[in-house]
């Protein structure tokens, strides 16, 4: 393994931002290759944790380096400045790095960062982006695949995560890393990580899915735990459950739980008086995949998303 500099940026008052990639060179020049981009945002931990755990795994758990067949580049974080002060986006101008691709070397700071990252990861046969949801919810980990015309759903199944969310491309997605990486010929996928800021017993699920993916694409040779057969989900398969009342939100069913129609899955309390002002009822049989993550919920906010049993 060798560390390579992706970019270095000086700052008026902070230490320079040095972003490095960890390159594991494969033993088989014919094998496919993969680049993995970890934390682009600073308020969640799983993209960083999963990428860094994979580095440790490749370094220390694969005893025979010949079992790494294809080149693997892992960039665990490109936004240390945000992570270190719990900012979500680029700390100075609050721009979202994942809306700056393919980048521009003569542009604004985050466009330049995106360009340097894109130059480093271009040309890999496979690409993985570790993201979190844009809204105020947390979720089961899933693969996000745009209907871009370049997607490869069969390849996305190799992560072995339960869900692949196959979704329409919005105008703002055309400046995302996934779309541009695909446009440049890489089989790129996004894994949407739960938005937790703490780690727990389920935190290795994404790391395990990365190992599955590398294994199934013959980038590494490593016997590993079995994976799920992924279900491809579109917006028609998802029931959105909103709360008509704002207040204190108490989910009574966890993400990943199978629920039945008419079951109470959460409640909203009057935030000043404590009484229950709304009971959230499951409108269908299915699995809770997403839940609002803040204790104070807004009116008409999406409290839960349920994938309907079919």
């Amino acid at each position: 393994m060798k560390k390579i500099e992706i970019f270095k940026l000086t700052s008026l008052n902070r230490e320079p931002l040095l972003v490095e990639g960890y390159l594991f060179e494969g033993s088989d020049p014919e094998a496919p290759s993969v680049a993995i981009v970890g934390a682009m945002e600073g308020k969640t931990i799983l993209p960083l944790y999963s990428a860094s755990k994979l580095i440790d795994f490749l370094k220390n758990s694969i005893s025979d380096s010949k079992k790494i067949l294809g080149n693997i580049l892992i960039i665990p974080s490109i936004n240390h400045y945000a992570l270190n002060i719990n900012e979500r986006f680029w700390p100075l101008d609050k721009t979202n790095l994942n809306m700056m691709f393919p980048g521009y070397d003569k542009g604004e700071t985050t466009q330049r960062i995106a360009k340097k990252v894109f130059d480093a990861i271009e040309g890999y046969t496979h690409g993985i982006i570790l993201e979190t949801r844009e809204d105020l919810s947390t979720c089961m980990p899933y693969v996000k695949e745009f209907k871009s015309g370049f997607e490869d759903l069969e390849d996305a199944k190799k992560f072995g995560l339960k869900i692949i969310h196959y979704k329409a491309l919005r105008p703002t997605d055309t400046v995302s890393l996934q779309y541009n990486w695909q446009l440049w010929g890489t089989k790129a996928h996004s894994i949407v990580c739960p938005g937790e800021t703490e780690l727990n017993e389920n935190s290795d699920e994404i790391f395990e899915s990365l190992v599955n993916y590398l294994n199934k694409n013959n980038i590494i040779k490593h016997k590993f735990l079995s994976a799920y057969e992924s279900a491809i989900i579109t917006s028609e398969d998802i029931e959105i459950i909103k709360t008509p009342k704002s207040g204190i939100f108490i989910p009574t069913k966890k993400i990943g739980t199978q629920v039945i129609e008419d079951e109470i899955i959460g409640k909203v309390l009057h935030s000043l008086e404590g009484k229950v002002i709304h009971k959230i009822i499951a409108p269908c049989n299915g699995v809770i995949t997403c839940s609002y993550k803040n204790a104070l919920i807004l009116e008409n906010a999406v409290a839960f998303r349920i994938i309907k049993n079919s």
Binding site: K94, T172, K242, K245, E299, N300, V302
Partner: protein, 316 residues
């Protein structure tokens, strides 16, 4: 004048998020009268538009007999952002001008912009007033998407701005207020002027004159008052030159915003406050007018320092 709520949502703790507009209508009905909507505060750190809407509402209140059409004023679209000095929509940290057209089933920012788009829909003209951001100071200018320029350019020339910048269609900008409303048939113009978190009084009066002039030309007001407007320069007859910071540091400008400059004139220095050194001195890449100048001194490599509008070499 009527004050109307266009969107309301109960917040979790004892407060409603309410977006309001004021509507000015003629004292007597006029057939075929037009409607104009003036929108500001989509970005919570931009206040110049609020000053313009204050001046406009004040003029309309003082001149009720001049009103021939409907004038809707939406001063503070991102109400939570404006009152908390937050550019995006608080909590969600999203730019409201990247989530149009929104929808009833979307997250709160999407619901809000959807309500705004529906309410403005049907207007003949809309003006979306922005003030750059906290980082840059801009002269009063109109930004126009080439896709809609046939309809909007003639209106832009009436607005008493200094510069009209016609830009190419970009997919990501389809999520903006102006693209959404132009698509819905409302001729929509975007004004950029001044700087974030501050008011520039002279720009406020300048744009007020332009809006009154446009409304008079369109028959929305009828008055003997004459509104003299300047002739803007346009990006059709020249090029925009960008100057980005080559390094990180503290930017100290050497020129005033809006100056006419020559190629190689000094724009400013990037300095190191710790060592007392000048790290870089920046020079103008071309002759022209300095229509954008860095206001917030902290810069990283790539931070925009200045934009200069100058005649292109071929056209000269």
């Amino acid at each position: 004048m009527q004050i109307m709520e266009i969107f309301s949502s109960k917040l979790p703790v004892g407060e409603n998020l309410v977006i309001k507009k004021s509507r000015f209508e003629p004292l007597a009905k006029h057939d075929g009268s037009k409607r104009i909507s003036i929108v500001s505060g989509i970005h919570g750190d931009e206040l110049e538009g609020q000053y313009v809407t204050y001046l406009l509402a004040s003029w309309l209140k003082a001149n009720p007999n001049a009103i021939r059409g409907i004038i809707d004023i939406y001063p503070g679209v991102n109400a939570l952002g404006i009152d908390s000095i937050t550019r995006g929509f608080p909590l969600y940290e999203v730019d409201l001008n990247r989530v149009f057209p929104g929808g009833e089933d979307e997250f709160l920012p999407g619901q809000l912009v959807h309500a705004l788009a529906l309410d403005v829909k049907g207007s003949d003209i809309a003006i979306d007033i922005h003030s750059s951001n906290i980082f840059l100071r801009e002269i009063p200018q109109i930004r126009i998407n080439k896709e809609f320029s046939n309809a909007t350019l003639p209106l832009a020339k009436e607005l008493n701005c200094d510069f009209i910048w016609i830009h190419d269609a970009v997919t990501v900008l389809e999520a903006t207020f102006s693209h959404t409303l132009n698509t819905l048939g409302t001729k929509t113009l975007v004004v950029e002027m001044g700087v974030g978190m501050r008011l520039t009084k002279e720009y406020g009066f300048q744009l007020l004159t332009g809006i009154l002039n446009l409304m008079k030309k369109e028959g929305i007001i009828e008055t003997d008052e004459a509104f003299e407007v300047r002739e803007p320069f346009s990006s059709e007859v020249g090029d925009v030159f960008y100057l980005n910071s080559p390094t990180s540091g503290l930017f100290v400008p050497a020129l005033s915003h809006c100056d006419i400059i020559k190629q190689d004139d000094k724009i400013g220095d990037i300095v190191n406050p710790l060592t007392g050194e000048i790290i870089e001195t920046l020079f103008a890449p071309h002759d022209g007018i300095l229509f954008t100048l860095r206001e917030y001194p902290v810069v990283y490599e790539g931070s925009l320092i200045a934009r200069i509008f100058g005649g292109s070499d071929e056209k000269n």
